[in-house]
Chain length 197, copies 2
């Protein structure tokens, strides 16, 4: 299962088997049950989190007590509270496991050591962050230019698997709308597609 991480590294950079082993040996494989938290608000995120199996959401709670999902992550993804991890300060996010999951935890200090000893890892994360940043740009662009119905259609089309695996209320939160409204949208789309037959 750990090959997922090796595969991810090899996709973006050239590492020897020994280097990969060294990195893997500094990660701790951990299982979480559905509903449990890897990180809570106020925690300092000590670890980078790489998902080997399962599904995770990260969200924060605003001053009105409403949850807003920042990220949904599944197999092969890095997740977490980046600001908290980068600066080793208390964070604002919760990272909750929404399916029984197995993750690799990579402690902050170990990552710093890896950066220092295996420069190619700088390249790996440079590319990862660059891609993540561009993807985020795209998401923001969609949020700005589309209404709620089209945001959901776009999500369903590009994340078909997540649309199946994740409860609607979480998808609504990720897309920035209320759960009730998403329900109404889905009904509207059902009627529309029925009309074609």
């Amino acid at each position: 299962m750990e090959e997922l991480l090796s595969y991810s590294f090899r996709k973006h950079t050239a590492l020897t088997a020994g280097e990969l082993d060294s990195i893997l040996s500094q990660c701790k494989k951990t299982a979480y049950k559905k509903g449990h938290f890897i990180v809570r608000e106020g925690d300092v995120s000590r670890n980078g989190i790489f998902i080997l199996k399962g599904l995770v959401r990260s969200y924060f709670i605003d001053i009105n007590g409403h949850e807003h999902i920042i990220q949904l992550g599944m197999e092969g993804w890095w997740v977490g509270d980046l600001e908290s991890f980068t600066n080793q300060i208390p964070g604002k996010l919760y990272v909750e496991v929404i399916e029984d999951s197995i993750v690799l935890l990579l402690p902050y200090e170990h990552l710093q050591h890896i950066y220092a000893t295996i420069p190619a890892v700088e390249r790996y994360f440079r590319i990862l962050f660059q891609n993540a940043f561009a993807a985020f740009h795209k998401r923001m662009l969609e949020n700005l230019s589309m209404d709620a119905e089209h945001r959901y259609i776009a999500f369903r089309d590009s994340h078909a698997e997540m649309d199946q695996r994740i409860p609607q209320k979480h998808i609504a939160s990720y897309l920035g709308m209320s759960a009730e409204f998403l329900s109404k949208i889905k009904k509207r789309l059902m009627l529309k597609s029925k009309r074609k037959f």
Copy 2:
């Protein structure tokens, strides 16, 4: 003026004077007049863009013909259409100079060469993208949790200088609201602060 770039590099990574010179020699210093475009929709962004002086906005136009500002950048910032630059494909963004500006242009191929010959630059951009990503997270978090009035207050507080230098309609677009509505918000805030005297 070019020291701005050296300063930016040195803040995040250790580079020799020779390496900095080499990087600088591969950049092309270019002046743009207010209202001119560095990149247009459909262009392949050939250059990384670093601002030495002036002010730049990047935006896209949605299917309804409305502009949405993605980024506002000033002295010491990298700007541009990252997706287009990274993948060397036609982009969706316009990059427009909104004050007479001087920028450094770093061609894509030169940057690849720099990555290959000066590994510390991987680290520089890794950190830059990591910070940019975290900042973007924060912006999205604010967009989700605050109403229009509080988004403007947050912007004014953390970007006081930009609030002065940039026309209101651009700020409105950056904050995801109509220019008219921002005008109404400012009036409301004026009245509120007056009432305190």
